[in-house]
Amino acid sequence: MTTSTEPVVAADGLPLKRSLARALRRQKIRALLLIAPLLLFIVLTFLVPIGNMLLRSVDNAIVEETIPRTVEALRGWDEAGDVPPGEDVFEALYADMLIATDAKRHTRLGSRLNYESSGMSSLFRKTNERRLGRFELEQPLAPQFEDIDEDWITLETWRVIKSNSDPVTAGYFLAAMDLRATPTGIEPVSDLQAIYVKLFVRTMILSVTITAMCFLLGYPIAWILANLPSRSANMLLILVLLPFWTSLLVRTSAWKVLLQQQGVINDLLVWVGVLADDNRLAMINNATGTVIAMTHILLPFMILPLYSVMKTISPTYLRAAKSLGATDWTAFWRVYFPQSVPGIGAGAILVFILAIGYYITPELVGGTDGTFISNRIYYHISSSLNWGLAAALATILLAMVLALYWVYDRLVGIDNVKLG
């Protein structure tokens, strides 16, 4: 029964307010249930794996998990001094390594530490079950470790182990920015090894160039498409889409045939007499090759949003502008162009974001000065297995894209982007 203080009641006798809220809640739950599969799918197959991958950029639990006693014993050792650790550390190391070699985990730790200092990989591989089994436990252990490899008693080895014994590390991010931690603080790596900052800058510059090229080439095409009668426009649209139906590798290889020094374009130019035979243009295996091939591959992503936005711009505006005395250029620049900006925004964002993560095409046609940061990410994922560094590089790349997105939102406004 309802109380008398509630003046308005619904048909079932409940207060109207509560009844309404319940109905709304039911609707919300139903809506949520409807999207739940999708939400779950996205969370499980997209956000969790990506988050997991990005977390690897700081994860360093392997050292503490593999040799916990050694890490504990090392706390009492002064890494700034010039004496190697004492017998207690070697006893702890022996106990840890017995377990680690039994589980075949010692070589993994060696690979991990080898990223920090060359030689750790073979040091841990050598210190295997067989060698440890021959240890005489009554004797001091340090010299017996030294027998396996003299690196076991060097300061450098123990400094590397101690400085990497925290379960969380900033080392991968430092390496990704061509920096390294030393006992005296963070300093840049030598010029002979610096590579990532250069590659990030280059990736940005080339991606912007590719986006600009796509805009310059795509805008007139989109304009023609939008202003042709729909029959012929559809024909042309198929031509724009045609590259999508050809394998990426085939398209990239086709550019090789065209652009190489003994290729079609150079042959033609030599034959016409524009070029001397011994002075052929180098258009591939360099940044030019990357820009040309990627502009071609990404062009449809610029044309399509431009086309769909231009389709919605009524031709009467241009006619009105001209009838009011505007020249062709003024009519275009003051009336037509501003209306097409949302399409440019959408196209540019699509092309730029796709370009920044490309690696197959730059690898094949980029030579040495046309490769991207993604080529190094790929190398560390697939070859060197340094997934921590790959994750750090990818995180930085993601942060850069998000920062650019934020700048774009401030300058142009993200509401101003239209896909159609």
Partner: protein, 370 residues
């Protein structure tokens, strides 16, 4: 890319060749991972087709060896290994072994003894570079050159150092976009003795010296990352001399009849072979080991050389190498291990590269960017 080849052999109940496991416990299908192309075909013809015929096993081939290391690690972390046998180069096998992703193998227990009576570990000898690695072929990275370059005036390169000789042999070169191989050749041609190369490379001066030597030809070099690139560049006349795998050069020269010659001087020996992923279920492991024993015996390794110009890893297979299955030419002179070809060879120091690869690769890539 996944190539699925179904080869359900006749279910003839032939006795298993030296099987150590009862037939009832073996899986009746296998997923084998290799490199695709002519190499994988040679493995199918020499190993899996005859095996399928005898045992009625269904083979699925996956052309993923190029990214096998990363994929296996991901599979192992997800605890869902879908591959049974994986073809990798020795350096990758070492990496997978260190990571605990590849199974350690007792070569003498699991592999057939050689036809000449030697035990498996004697027969493979030094080529067993890791406890997880079962060697299959010896291949080499070496140079091919065009034989019709007008500017060379009929001369042909005879030494690996001719690659650096821009006076006598002008034209574009092709080298692999990684330090392994290139830095060793550079030091050899800079006058360093063979046995000092790795000691020197361990010092910063050694690396600097190798890169300085490479600097001499840097502007005239195309850097490749896929083995198919050099043959294409040679065939198109884009380059005049370039490094690639000897089997690729064999097919350019003998199968496609291009005007290309082969330079064996200081060919860089490398190994390719099998690893078994760690943690396979019992029935699949039993099948894999049974196939492995069959596919790596003396005769099978020699058979593979009928289809591709790579040398069998067993010493006992060498005398059995015969003629090419289609071309009918004698294959022995095309083997990297042939005495005439291996006057000067370079043996990779795998252990050394496993330690120093990341470091030197960083310097090499940084040098490429300059």
């Amino acid at each position: 890319m996944k190539l699925k080849t179904m080869m359900i052999g006749a279910t003839s109940a032939l006795a298993l060749t030296g099987a150590a496991h009862a037939d009832g416990h073996m899986a009746d299908s296998m997923t084998v991972v290799s490199w695709g192309g002519a190499y994988q075909t040679s493995q199918q013809k020499a190993y899996s087709e005859p095996y399928a015929e005898e045992n009625g096993v269904e083979f699925t081939w996956d052309e993923s060896s190029g990214e096998a290391v990363a994929r296996l690690r991901a599979m192992s972390e997800a605890d869902n290994i879908t591959w049974d046998l994986v073809d990798v180069v020795a350096a990758d096998a070492m990496r997978l072994c260190d990571e605990g992703i590849a199974m350690e193998i007792d070569h003498d227990e699991l592999l057939a003894p050689g036809d000449d009576g030697s035990s498996a570990s004697e027969d493979f000898g030094d080529l067993i570079v890791s406890n997880c690695f079962i060697p299959q072929i010896v291949y080499s990275t070496t140079f091919g050159y065009r034989t019709d370059v007008a500017e060379w005036g009929g001369a042909e390169p005879t030494s690996v150092c001719d690659v650096w000789d821009m006076e006598a042999f002008p034209g574009q070169r092709a080298l692999e976009k990684r330090p392994i191989g290139n830095v060793e050749w550079a030091l050899i041609c800079d006058g360093v003795a063979y046995e000092d190369v790795y000691d020197l490379l361990e010092t910063p001066e050694g690396v600097a010296r190798a890169l300085a030597k490479l600097d001499e030809i840097k502007d005239d070099t195309v850097w490749w990352s896929a083995g198919a690139e050099t043959p294409q560049l040679l065939a198109d006349g884009e380059i005049v001399i370039g490094s690639t795998y000897n089997g690729r050069l064999f097919s350019v020269i003998e199968e496609q009849q291009q005007p290309v010659g082969m330079l064996w001087d200081y060919q860089m020996f490398d190994l390719d072979g099998w690893i078994v992923p760690a943690g396979l279920p019992e029935d699949r492991l039993a099948r894999t080991l049974d196939f492995l024993r069959y596919a790596t015996d003396t005769q099978r390794l020699a058979d593979q050389a009928k289809y591709i110009a790579y040398g069998p890893a067993r010493a006992s297979s060498a005398p059995l190498v015969s003629t090419h299955a289609e071309l009918g030419i004698d294959m022995a002179p095309h083997m990297p291990t042939d005495p005439a070809n291996s006057v000067n060879t370079f043996l990779f120091n795998y252990e050394w590269w496993a330690d120093n690869r990341d470091d030197i690769d960083a310097q090499f890539q940084s040098w490429l960017l300059q």
